[in-house]
């Protein structure tokens, strides 16, 4: 970035051969290179911000279909009536002020050969490096009853924070006391491992206060509670005793929207409010771009750079990736991957070496009621021999118990992650 640094890099290139600057070939008008980011969630927004913070001469464009950012972390609190959607809805103006171009549009095609992204509006954007952070899309193929838009409006997932969160809260508010809330959790891997169980706590917290005769039936496709099991069970068997009927191995067969029934392989469960989270895959643009490498659902990456193992020059972030062992799909993980990616993209554009041993860390808080939270944490170091990011043994762990202190940390964590992405 400084003259000295530039001269140094040039000198390095001269002394080590032309291949050292191969990464600079095809650079666009900006001296720092052009980076296009698909998706302005935790992954994409944080990557865009750090490209600007760490290499201000980079030309950064984020393609985002929504006008505002609605945070998935803390969104279960909206369902519990413990916060309002406005408190978790944030603007892209902070990124704009930093010089990031925010294009409200949708990426419909990637031409990696021509290094171009085509948008729904018909516009085309050129890039030197592309970062794809599309989040998840839902797989409705195996749920015939939920295929229509009308059915999807009645039986919500609320697994992307925003209008669905508000709509599910309204359904809960409209439900009579004594009603039954039926909640289906898909087989892992899914976005936010502890999220479903936090949701159960939040709905229970609301029922306890406003509709104490109501019940919650949890139909979990998994054989057991996926994350923070002991901590959630302490709440379910403690303050919510008798309210929650947890049924593991509940594989979803279909949903009958008219009869308000969730159909399992051997059983049907009727409810007053149904909330079905379908299985998901990397966002659709990842499929179109040829980035999916695992189980027809997820994108394999090089964990030093987050570059796709399938398509050169294209990096993939966050929930869309084939997660490394013990790595969750979370906003916190997206934050970390975004910064590893931003640093690597800057290095690659400048023809400099990338960091050989990146480290990522996960911290996820879940609220068990309106004030008390629990955490899960892990640290992931890159292992050069295994060419894989590995969770460090002896590190990470869980809260001893839920506490208001951790509830305070949880809000601080959310506000700092929001600031780190959008401030």
């Amino acid at each position: 970035m400084t003259v000295t640094r530039r001269e140094f890099v040039k000198w390095m290139a001269a002394s080590t051969g032309a291949a050292a600057v191969a990464g600079c070939a095809g650079m666009g008008g900006s001296s720092g290179g052009r980076v296009v980011v698909i998706g302005g969630g935790f992954g994409g927004a944080t990557a865009a911000r750090y490209l600007k913070l760490w290499a201000p001469d980079t030309d950064v464009t984020v393609i985002e279909r929504n006008e505002t950012f609605v945070s998935c972390p803390m969104s279960n609190l909206v369902l519990g009536g413990n916060t309002q959607i406005g408190n978790i809805t944030l603007s892209y103006d902070g990124l704009r002020k930093r010089g990031v171009n925010i294009v409200r549009d949708e990426a419909v095609a990637v031409d990696a050969g021509a290094r171009q992204v085509r948008l729904a509006s018909g516009k085309t954007l050129s890039y030197d490096r592309l970062i794809v952070s599309p989040g998840i899309d839902f797989i409705y193929d195996q749920i015939p009853g939920l295929k229509s838009a009308d059915a999807q409006e009645r039986v919500l997932h609320a697994w992307k924070a925003g209008p669905q969160t508000v709509a599910l809260r309204k359904q809960l508010e409209a439900m009579p006391d004594g009603g039954v809330f039926v909640f289906h959790i898909p087989m892992a891997p899914y976005r936010c491992p502890p999220g479903p169980y936090e949701r159960v706590c939040q709905v229970a917290d609301y029922f306890k206060k406003a509709k104490p005769k109501s019940k919650i039936i949890v139909l979990d496709a998994n054989p057991d509670i996926v994350s923070k099991k002991g901590l959630f069970l302490a709440a379910w068997n403690g303050m919510y005793k008798g309210m929650i009927d947890y049924r593991p191995n509940s594989e979803l067969a279909d949903v009958d929207v008219k009869a308000m029934t969730v159909k399992l392989t051997f059983d049907s469960v009727k409810g007053d409010v149904l909330n079905v989270v379908p299985p998901h895959s990397a966002g659709n643009i990842a499929r179109q771009a040829g980035l999916i490498t695992a189980n027809q659902r997820w994108c394999g990456v090089d964990w030093r750079t987050m570059e796709s193992v399938a398509v050169k020059g294209v990096h993939v972030l966050a929930d869309a990736t084939l997660s490394a062992p013990a790595m969750p799909k979370s906003g916190s993980m997206a934050n970390q991957q975004a910064k590893v990616c931003a640093a690597a993209v800057i290095a690659l554009l400048k023809g400099e070496p990338v960091v050989a041993q990146p480290v990522m860390m996960n911290t996820c808080y879940s609220f068990v009621d309106g004030r008390s939270a629990v955490h899960v944490a892990s640290v992931h170091q890159y292992d050069a021999e295994q060419k894989m990011t590995i969770a460090v043994k002896g590190a990470g762990g869980l809260s001893d118990k839920a506490s208001e202190l951790e509830g305070t940390y949880a809000w601080g964590w959310a506000r700092n992650m929001w600031g780190d992405a959008l401030g």
Binding site: R5, F8, M12, S15, G17, A19, A20, A22, Y50, L53, W54, E67, T68, F69, G86, T89, L90, S91, D93, G94, S332, N335, Q336, K339, A343, A347, L348, G351, E352, P353, V355, A356, P358, V359, M360, M361, T363, H375, A377, S378, V379, A384, A395, G396, G397, S399, T408, Y409, W411, G412, W413, R415, N416, M417, W418, G419, D420, A421, L422, G423
Partner: protein, 121 residues
């Protein structure tokens, strides 16, 4: 491309490089590595260690030796914590020293919170 530039991997293991060209590269790479490692902490402690509401605490401008000792105490379970011990145990002492050095070099100051979509913060 990376194969053409002297790939170290060595500097992160703390080994000295013999070639004359290696010194500035090692210093530059070490600074980048320190920044990248410290960036992990930003998620909870704010960008460059400036926390939006001061909770978890701001760590920008913290004394390096003090911070390193605190991290080692967290790591050894000598200092009570909810999450910090669990995180500190994921890093080598050399990595913790780079992290402490990075935050010591940051100026304490106010954070840049994400703007609310309703205006204001």
């Amino acid at each position: 491309m990376t194969s053409a530039i002297p790939r170290t991997g060595a500097w992160c293991a703390g080994l000295a490089l013999a070639a004359a060209v290696a010194a500035p590269v090692a210093a530059q790479e070490q600074a980048a590595y320190a920044r990248n490692l410290a960036a992990n902490c930003f998620a909870c402690h704010g960008t460059d260690g400036r926390s939006v509401d001061g909770v978890p605490p701001s760590i920008a401008g913290q004394n390096k030796d003090y911070m390193l000792q605190v991290m080692k105490d967290f790591k050894a379970n000598k200092r009570p914590a909810t999450v910090m011990g669990q995180q500190a145990r994921g890093y080598t002492d050399e990595q913790l020293e780079l992290i402490a050095g990075y935050f010591a070099g940051m100026k304490a100051g106010s954070a840049d919170p994400a703007p609310s979509a309703r205006g204001g913060n």
